[in-house]
Amino acid sequence: MPVVTPGWYMTLAAVLFVLGMTGVLIRRNALVMFMCVELMLNAVNLTFVAAGRAAGVLDGQVAVFFVLVVAAAEVVVGLAIIVAIFRRRETASVDELAALRG
């Protein structure tokens, strides 16, 4: 019976991070992209927890707490901007926001 080590969690977190990143790259709905960013941050959180467990310190869990708050703040601001854009453009697709380029 294998013992679950922190490494397992970290690997899971890595996969989650990559999934989140992939989502950001392939989805064009800004809201979904934000969700994917949340996935990435959750991967970070899982890593922190697992690493904290491995190191035997609480710092990892404390870090999760802060990351959580940051994520919340980002979401608030992000959603406000998306709402603002949607009001004006009737779209949440980031592909249609490419006036600035070159």
């Binding site: 990435m40 190191a55 990892g60 870090a63 926001l97």
Partner: protein, 484 residues
């Protein structure tokens, strides 16, 4: 259960930031209560900044090169942090002095705007002083989120929205990458504290630090995004073009100061032992930034994009100094201090010429600016020549500094790339000067700028030239601001 070792709260060390934060809150409350005029709020914010700067100077004098850890090692207020504070506050004042018209345009949202500026400044200062990776992340987010909002707050429509969303989305990804890097470093060392990390390396001999290498890479990439270094720079031109002109200079400058301070602290203080590993990638990013920045700037026809790309190139120059190691950080600081002044001055001119909130900034608007406003043309020229690194401007001294240290740090190839790129870049600055001085004006109407703006611009120009000829004071100053 109250731990007996409740950390001492070093209020005095944080005095400037406290002033900023309480000032911001005061502005918001005042706005809610009394609805004072924009001018009152604006003057207030300047006063707050001035007080903070004064306290910052006091703190600079008090600071020691080794620094003093406060808040249980969350922050390290050493000379470099104190210098970062001075630079951030300095350019904030410079930018704010020239930004009255922007806040006038914001109308009833001026208080929010001003508060966000102050909070962003505080955030980046904290970021620069952070000794702890999570703390650094918090400072980074405090500054960045404020900037995301500022990018979207005052713009005149679609472009501003787009800029804000781009900045936010990509910034969030970059933040995630950064904090993931921090997490991996934590996994590899069991510590989030840069000093602790350093101690860990002192205790353990690591043969295969793959986790750490990835962590370093992610941290570097995340911060490279913030300072707009290639290939993590693509957002910068779009955001600089779309965000309100009156605030872009400030946004660019403080983000660069905070980002580079953090990068320097992480790499030089935490991972000094890994220099053989990270120096090549930093050098690579530097080279790529210089070349790509110059190439793209040459073909852009919008002055804001041009400056954004030139900013990419400058990030490359600064990284050149950074890659050379601890000693080179003094040159990084010199560069940051003088470049941000030029950057803010240039964008201030842009906001005067194109309107503080508008996003129109086509190069053709600058045709014959010399005739419409000799003063603005001169200011912009000096700023551009400074960025070009022409002797007798601070830009030259700054470039010389990073080149010198890079050469001493055995990065000869990078210096060669850098000098070639800087020669290439001269063309793009000249192009603007040509347009201003050697083409016939688009209109006859003179471009006027208000008095505080003029003062700010005049001061920036004077600083660029005077410190360009006699840079000794600043050189001595930054000499002590290295990451021991």
């Amino acid at each position: 259960m109250i731990p007996e070792a409740f950390p001492e709260i070093a209020w005095s060390a944080l005095a400037p930031e406290l002033v900023l934060v309480f000032g911001a809150v005061a502005l918001l409350l005042l706005d809610v209560q009394r609805k004072p005029g924009v001018k009152v709020l604006w003057v207030m914010s300047l006063v707050i900044l001035a007080v903070a700067l004064a306290l910052g100077v006091w703190q600079w004098i008090a600071a020691t090169p080794e620094g003093e850890p406060i808040f249980g090692g969350m922050l390290l207020f050493d000379r470099s942090a104190a210098l970062a504070r001075l630079v951030v506050l300095g350019v904030t004042i410079q930018a704010m002095a020239a930004a009255r018209s922007l806040f006038a345009h914001l109308g009833n949202r001026a208080a929010e705007g001003l508060a966000l500026v102050l909070l962003a400044a505080a955030g980046f200062i904290l970021m620069a002083a952070s000794q702890n990776l999570v703390m650094m992340f918090l400072g980074l987010e405090m500054g960045s989120i404020s900037l995301y909002i500022l990018a979207g707050i005052a713009g005149d429509g679609v472009r501003s929205d787009e800029a804000a969303l781009k900045y936010l989305l990509l910034g969030a990804v970059a933040s995630a990458v950064f904090i993931y890097g921090a997490a991996l470093v934590f996994a590899g060392t069991g510590s989030l504290d840069l000093l602790g990390i350093g101690e860990f390396f002192a205790r353990n001999l690591l043969l295969s630090p793959a986790v750490l290498l990835v962590g370093i890479g992610l941290l570097t990439a995340g911060l490279s995004f913030k300072v707009a270094a290639a290939p993590f720079h693509v957002w910068a031109p779009d955001v600089y073009q779309g965000a309100p002109a009156g605030i872009v200079g400030y946004m660019a400058a403080v983000a660069k100061v905070g980002g580079f301070a953090a990068l320097a602290r992480v790499l030089l203080s935490g991972f000094e032992n890994f220099r053989p590993d990270w120096a090549p990638i930093v050098a690579g990013i530097a080279a790529l930034s210089m070349v790509v920045g110059a190439l793209m700037a040459i073909i852009s026809s919008d002055i804001r994009r041009l400056l954004a790309y030139s900013g990419v190139a400058h990030a490359g120059f600064i990284l050149t100094g950074l890659a050379s190691g601890v000693e080179g950080s003094s040159s990084v600081w010199f560069y940051l201090a003088v470049y941000t002044v030029q950057l803010v001055a240039a964008f201030s001119v842009i906001s005067v010429v194109g309107g503080a909130a508008s996003s129109g900034s086509d190069l053709s608007d600058y045709r014959g600016l010399y005739r419409r406003s000799p003063f603005l043309a001169l200011v912009l020229s000096v700023a551009l020549l400074g960025m070009a690194g022409l002797p007798l401007t601070t830009g030259f001294v700054a470039k010389l500094g990073v080149f010198l240290w890079a050469w001493r740090g055995d990065l000869e190839w990078l210096v060669v790339v850098a000098v070639v790129a800087s020669a290439m870049a001269i063309y793009l600055y000249l192009r603007v000067i040509v347009i201003m001085y050697m083409q016939s004006p688009v209109g006859d109407d003179p471009v006027l700028c208000d008095r505080p703006t003029s003062w700010a611009l005049g001061a920036a120009t004077a600083v660029t030239v005077v410190l360009g000829v006699f840079p000794q004071p600043l050189l001595r100053l930054v000499e002590t601001a290295i990451y021991l």
